[in-house]
């Protein structure tokens, strides 16, 4: 006698396990897991082979299979809710050092104000949070000369429109770029050093801090 369970269903009760990973929520529910055995033929297809296997052996094999099937789904039976939370990620970098010098180049006779510029710096950012802005401040409390910074060649990929403005650096943080939320981008920084003839000569060393914040 051949045992041929042509169609078999094993209902598996859901219990629900929740796993929290990191913005979007990914959930998959498996309330019931149906295991179907279609064309499950424990007996051999071959009549010849079928005849060779005793009934007792066939029954034993079926019991073992049934036991195996009843155990295996235990590991997959719970419905699972997977929640993936992307934590707020913010990245900010700036090229390290800049040397500005007012040495007569670009100085105009008869004009008291002397300026020099540098635009070799690049500021890059990336954030999945919103709303966000980038501020700038200097650590030099007593400046002899004025220093301004202007974002130029601003490129941004993201949900919002980035706006920017020129800032004269002080120790207080000031907004440099606005609307950088949920975006990545970069800009070049145009620094302008301004000295008056009446200020004489000297050296200012700034430690400039850029902060991306909400």
């Amino acid at each position: 006698m051949a045992l041929e369970p042509k169609h078999m269903q094993l209902p598996i009760q859901s219990q629900g396990a929740r796993r929290t990973a990191s913005c979007a929520t990914l959930e998959s529910h498996f309330d019931w897991l149906y295991i179907e055995f279609q064309h499950f033929n424990l007996a051999c297809a071959s009549d010849r082979l079928r005849n060779l296997i005793p009934l007792k052996t066939k029954l034993s094999l079926f019991v073992m299979f049934a036991a195996l099937l009843s155990i295996t789904p235990v590991f997959a039976q719970n419905p699972q809710t997977v929640t993936v939370n992307f934590s707020p990620l913010t990245l900010l970098s700036v090229t390290p050092n800049v040397n500005l010098s007012i040495d007569g180049t670009g100085v105009v006779a008869g004009v008291d104000q002397m300026t020099t510029t540098d635009q070799s710096s690049r500021l890059s950012w990336g954030t999945n949070a919103t709303p966000m802005r980038i501020t700038v401040a200097t650590g030099l409390a007593t400046q002899k000369f004025a220093l301004k910074v202007l974002p130029i060649n601003v490129s941004s990929w993201g949900a919002s429109t980035v706006t920017y403005q020129e800032v004269t650096l002080t120790i207080a943080a000031q907004d440099l770029l606005l609307g950088v939320g949920c975006s990545r981008g970069y800009c070049d920084l145009k620094y302008t050093g301004v000295a008056l003839a009446s200020q004489g000569v000297g050296l200012d060393t700034h430690t400039i801090t850029f902060t991306i914040t909400n």
Partner: protein, 169 residues
């Protein structure tokens, strides 16, 4: 009573947890990048003259003195700037032995930008003072040029290349 304390304790715990989570979240949203920038200002001096070429023509004579009348020009404006201290402006001609005589003087020196020196005679190619007492300032003045000749000098044309310099006082 105990139940009330437990409820209060639970509420406090919940609030504290919320605060910690909020703070952690806020910190995660902030990133900082720093950059060192040096701004150095060294001594810078600039000077310029508006009238690059001047022609002085002596074509009249005084019957009273019997000498040719001087030719004068005040159209040139000299401008300068310096962030150094104790500077002066000098003038020099490239003509070591001129046939005619050319004199220069700074007039109407602006503000406290400097003090005009007496009229400089370009009778050789040595450097003469034009303005002194210049420190950390920008300024301007007119350049008064006077050309004169004696009857004995005859007629002719001379060209002078005149150089103005801001230099240490």
């Amino acid at each position: 009573m105990n139940r009330r304390y437990k409820s209060i304790a639970k509420a406090i715990l919940a609030v504290m947890t919320l605060m910690v989570l909020t703070l952690t979240n806020a910190c995660a949203q902030q990133a900082i990048a720093t950059q060192v920038l040096t701004l150095q200002v060294v001594e810078a001096n600039k000077i310029d003259i508006s009238l690059k070429a001047v022609t002085l023509v002596i074509d009249q004579a005084s019957l009273e003195s019997g000498s040719p009348v001087e030719a004068v020009n005040e159209d040139g404006v000299l401008v300068w700037v310096t962030n150094g201290d104790s500077k002066k402006i000098t003038v020099v001609s490239n003509n070591p032995s001129p046939r005619f005589q050319v004199k220069l003087q700074a007039v109407n020196v602006s503000g406290s930008a400097g003090v005009a020196a007496p009229e400089a005679v370009l009778n050789d190619n040595t450097t003469k003072d034009l303005i002194s007492g210049i420190s950390r300032s920008s300024g301007r003045c007119k350049i008064r040029m006077t050309a004169s000749a004696k009857v004995a000098n005859g007629v002719g044309t001379e060209t002078y290349a005149i150089t103005y310099t801001v230099t240490g006082g």
